[in-house]
């Protein structure tokens, strides 16, 4: 019912900056779609156009069956969490959260109950009477979140709603938001920079890059079959290793000379890019790939080995209980985990 459809939607800001190239896609009803992409790629712009806060330069936007290009934000029945919170400075936390409900004519007791419920979930119960200016950054962000979730909209729009929370709270929130959204069956668009958030919450991920859509797919598709080197290196931390190589009769050789195990590039003779995720390869004296470790980075649960393969930068992630030292070693590569992309446009082969 509340699916969101963009048909050649484009956004050019008055100063001439094209924030979104003409794009066409559908966000299915009831799904949670995560938007990811580098800073400034157009995520907020897209969300704000869906919300009706930004004029659509070209194209057609529908929510449900309605074309909403000319519909007021208030009549789109959406709830939104703004990247900068946009709290009402003159209202208390409770009033901020209840305002959208009050406007829908809900009675006071019911509003209070809803606000209480949301504020418990967001650990804001002690702050209900404070003004936004008396809250910490994370608390403000949670109020913004609360304002959205108390509502029962057709569509949720979340613009980096958890960016100012600590990992633990964020973890909790993420799970609760996901559960809430599932329970209500409300379509949602969610902007985040957190890969874990993207991977765990999304039914579908849209990867944006400089105003264009690089890939749309389930988290698994995006992670396992990145459509481009951009997606491949953007999703995953540490990012996928990308190596220049050449294909000849299906076999793939790196620029520095080594053959890549488990790689077949039939019909693509010529320069090529090879992608291997740091966690898809591991030190193994019996491995096929020679690796030269320069430094080791400790990340707590794991350890990153940074070095070179055939003279090209390469990283390997190892569990922290595996011993590792610098110097030369051999690597094994997981079969089926080698990604091939064309050399110039970086599209998946």
């Amino acid at each position: 019912m509340a699916q969101v459809t963009l048909n050649q939607v484009r956004k050019i800001y008055p100063n001439g900056a094209e924030a979104l190239e003409p794009s066409t896609f559908t966000i299915p009803d009831g799904e949670l779609t995560v938007l990811v992409g580098p800073s400034g790629c157009g995520k907020s712009t897209l969300l704000r156009m869906v919300a009706g806060l930004e004029e659509i330069t070209e194209g057609e936007l529908s929510i449900g069956d309605r074309i909403v290009n000319d519909i007021d934000p208030a009549n789109r029945n959406i709830a939104m969490v703004f990247q900068n919170y946009a709290l009402y400075p003159h209202m208390s936390v409770a009033q901020n959260m209840g305002y959208g409900l009050k406007n829908r004519g809900m009675d006071k007791a019911q509003i209070a109950a809803k606000v209480r419920e949301a504020s418990e979930m967001l650990h804001l119960d002690e702050f209900l009477d404070r003004r936004p200016s008396q809250l910490s950054g994370g608390q403000r962000q949670r109020v913004a979140m609360g304002r959205a979730i108390v509502r029962d909209p057709d569509l949720f729009l979340f613009d980096e709603p958890l960016s100012n929370l600590d990992a633990k709270l964020r973890n909790q929130m993420r799970i609760e938001i996901r559960a809430l959204q599932r329970r209500l069956g409300t379509t949602a668009m969610y902007v985040t920079h957190d890969q874990v958030e993207a991977m765990t919450m999304a039914d579908r991920i849209i990867v944006l890059n400089a105003g264009t859509i690089e890939q749309i797919g389930t988290p698994n598709e995006i992670y396992e079959h990145p459509a481009s080197t951009f997606v491949a290196s953007f999703m995953g931390a540490p990012p996928m290793n990308l190596l220049r190589g050449d294909a000849k009769g299906g076999a793939v050789t790196l620029k520095g000379g080594q053959d890549v195990p488990h790689a077949r590039a039939d019909g693509h003779d010529g320069p090529i890019q090879v992608g291997i995720r740091p966690e898809d390869t591991w030190p193994d004296p019996a491995g096929d790939l020679a690796f030269d470790v320069d430094i080791i980075e400790e990340l707590g649960a794991q350890r990153l080995l940074h070095g070179h393969v055939s003279g090209q930068a390469f990283s390997v992630a190892v569990p922290k209980d595996k011993e590792a030292g610098t110097g030369n070693m051999q690597l094994s590569v997981k079969p089926g985990a080698v990604h091939l992309f064309d050399a110039d446009r970086g599209r998946r082969l």
Partner: protein
């Protein structure tokens, strides 16, 4: 005061100094003088004066015409303040909202403010004039007999109308600039939260406009009380007669025109005290509800 206020001492004093010096010389001195002379009866040329204690005040309390003027002032001030603010606010909100023609509307609506008060007064009396007034004629066509200068309330309505008309642009300009200062993002959030533009206005815009509104409220009250005397004067053509008049016009009539320095000083003092009470009340009860940042 801001939380992150500067801690200097001498610099802010330096900043305040010009203002304080000017008001000390041109306000407190004359005001003190008014207070003093309200206890005297004085020959205007300064040749003789008699201390009369509270006489000048008790006389006012027992004067029915003074009380009439006080009542009229109350009604006049309430109506002028209310309508001048309400109409200007309506126009400012609309002018802030429309995209097409915004500039033109703004210019046109500010324009009237440029009219000199004597001219505004003259326009007013000429429009409402008994024999050649365009509005009088219009009303006559509608079967309404309108007699400026003869009928108390006919005169009053002209005073009120012209005073409102004259003040709308001022309020409009300040409301508009106040609206411009409201953060866009908060308005956007409200746009999503609330379908009704009217409610949005009262719930979000209006409270955030409150600092400007409060300023304007006080300014408009003082305008209606004080600055309208020119309009009153023009409309009654310098002769109050049986027409309504405001308290400050009486001060002017008795003091500036009639040279009753003691009597008019007492009236000034009464006015000052009234307005002082009024504003203290406003500051105590209204400003508390204003949210600044």
């Amino acid at each position: 005061m801001k939380r992150a206020a500067f801690g200097h001492i001498s610099f802010p004093i330096l900043l305040l100094l010009p203002q304080l010096v000017i008001i000390a010389i041109f306000f407190y001195w004359p005001a003190g003088y008014a207070l003093q002379s309200s206890f005297y009866l004085e020959d205007p040329f300064g040749f003789g004066s008699t201390f009369v204690g509270m006489d000048n005040y008790t006389r006012l309390a027992s004067s029915s015409s003074y009380m009439d003027a006080a009542w009229f002032t109350l009604i006049f001030t309430s109506l002028v303040t209310f309508f001048a603010l309400a109409i200007a606010l309506l126009l400012a909100v609309k002018a802030d909202k429309v995209i097409r023609g915004a500039r033109t509307y703004r210019t046109l609506l500010m324009w009237v403010y440029a009219i000199a008060p004597p001219v505004a007064g003259l326009i007013g009396v000429m429009l409402f004039d008994q024999s050649r007034g365009n509005i009088t004629q219009l009303l006559g066509m509608m079967g309404i007999e309108y007699r400026l200068g003869v009928n108390y309330w006919d005169t009053a309505s002209a005073m009120i109308t012209v005073s409102i008309w004259k003040q709308i642009p001022v309020n409009f300009i300040f409301f508009l600039s106040g609206l411009q200062a409201i953060p866009q993002s908060v308005r956007e959030a409200a746009m999503i939260d609330n379908r009704s533009g009217t409610r949005r206005f009262w719930d979000i815009t209006f409270p955030l406009l409150a600092p400007t509104g409060f300023f304007l409220l006080i300014i408009n009250i003082t305008y209606s009380l004080f600055d309208t005397f020119g309009i009153v004067d023009t409309i009654v053509k310098g002769q109050p007669g049986n027409n309504p008049m405001t308290l400050v016009y009486r001060v002017f009539v008795d003091g500036f025109r009639g040279q009753d320095l003691g009597g008019s000083s007492a009236q000034s003092v009464v006015l000052m005290v009234l307005v002082l009470i009024l504003t203290i009340v406003q500051f105590r009860f209204l400003e508390r509800r204003i949210h600044y940042t």
